[in-house]
């Protein structure tokens, strides 16, 4: 084997080994590196009350209740399999609304509800102008619900 070919084989083997190692590490991190728990995860894994965690999912349609004090809200997060009632005191991002993605940082209470310290809105990969969104509104929300169920 010529020296050049030997170097090529060596370099490619080394590259394959390193990428393989990175992929293995990444797949081992799969659960730990998840940015949030879904309601179904939280129920399955039994996240202990009081521990700081993030809870993510869809804000259930028609579930947002605003308290008379103006800064406290309550809503339900769903992933299609399980739901968790969430309460939050503070200012929510503009994109926080019903039937759209949300990530709440906070902790579970012993009764299984969630107290959030921070609310983040999750944006999905769809971008469109307002006119198109208006026309698609009906099929859009159905689509989202179907997606949640598929997950």
């Amino acid at each position: 084997m010529k020296a050049k070919n030997q170097r090529l084989t060596l370099a490619l083997l080394a590259l394959a080994a390193i990428v393989g190692a990175a992929l293995l590490a990444a797949s081992a991190l799969r659960d730990q590196a998840a940015y949030f728990y879904t309601p179904a995860d939280a129920r399955r894994l039994g996240v202990e009350p009081g521990r700081s965690v993030r809870l993510g999912g869809m804000v259930e349609g028609g579930s947002i209740r605003r308290s008379p004090d103006g800064v406290t809200i309550a809503f339900t997060v769903t992933d299609g399999q399980a739901t968790v009632p969430v309460s939050f005191r503070g200012i929510v991002p503009d994109l926080f609304k019903e039937r759209s993605g949300v990530v709440a940082e906070g902790h579970f209470t012993p009764t299984g509800s969630f107290v959030a310290d921070t609310i983040l809105a999750k944006h999905d990969e769809r971008y469109m102008p307002p006119q198109v969104a208006g026309a698609m509104h009906e099929s859009d929300s159905l689509d989202t619900d179907a997606k949640v169920r598929a997950k």
């Binding site: 590259l15 992929l23 991190l29 799969r30 944006h123 990969e125 971008y127 969104a133």
Partner: protein
């Protein structure tokens, strides 16, 4: 590629190519950003902040394409001992780091009104930050190696090749792990961005890429000129 093993031949092509790449890139970027600021409609949820897309996506692409370039050049240096490979990899590193930084900054500015946070330790954001740090480490390593005088410069090539392991992690971070960052909008099956918002994006991608190529060629020419000066000075000192 070995046709360019001779720096004189490379320079004969690179010299006239640089202004063409630079000016056509600048023109395309101006068209795309102008259209992105004035012609395209706002998004139904994000509003006007969607326009940052036309800078954020090309800089993310160039941040990752830059390191792919470093990895390919490093491979050519290690395997074929291509004389221009180390110079090319060094020329890519600084603009690559710049675009990775632009990607992080624009993403952060977009994240504040959209997500409600400047920064979160989510898989996509963290892996992109790691790429930016890899660029800084590469620049420091390459500079330290060059300080030792002309030599093999093998260490930075090995680092450039191994660092490529971050690229699939960045790409798949939003698919493997549940993340705050959305999944890719554009794939082989088409795009989930409406056509009226999407169209300036390919123009911006091409424009920024041409601009990047022009910067790389300029930096390679500067490095070759610098090496020539050094060699001449050494000869003078020896005489």
């Amino acid at each position: 590629m070995h046709a360019f093993a001779n720096p004189a031949r490379f320079l004969r092509i690179a010299r006239p190519l640089t202004p063409w790449l630079g000016w056509s890139g600048a023109l395309l970027v101006a068209v795309a950003l102008g259209a992105g600021l004035t012609v395209t409609p706002p998004d139904y949820l994000q509003g006007e902040s969607v326009r940052i897309l036309y800078v954020h996506v090309p800089s993310a692409w160039l941040g990752m394409a830059g390191w792919s370039g470093i990895a390919v050049a490093s491979l050519m240096q290690l395997v074929w001992r291509h004389p221009l490979a180390a110079i090319a990899a060094r020329a890519v590193a600084a603009p690559g780091a710049l675009f990775a930084a632009i990607c992080l900054v624009t993403g952060s500015i977009w994240g504040r009104p959209t997500w409600g946070t400047w920064w979160e330790w989510d898989g996509r954001l963290t892996s992109m930050l790691v790429l930016f740090f890899l660029y800084l480490a590469y620049l420091a390593l390459a500079a330290a190696e060059d300080d030792q005088g002309p030599g093999e410069r093998r260490l930075s090539a090995i680092f450039g090749l191994t660092g490529a392991a971050i690229l699939p992690v960045i790409h798949y971070s939003v698919l493997w792990w549940r993340s705050l960052h959305q999944r890719p909008s554009i794939g082989i099956k088409g795009s989930s961005i409406d056509g009226s918002i999407l169209w300036p994006l390919p123009i911006a991608l091409l424009g920024f890429t041409l601009l990047f190529a022009a910067i790389v060629l300029m930096r390679m020419r500067a490095a070759l000129a610098h090496a020539k000066v050094e060699a001449r000075l050494r000869r003078l000192a020896a005489a």
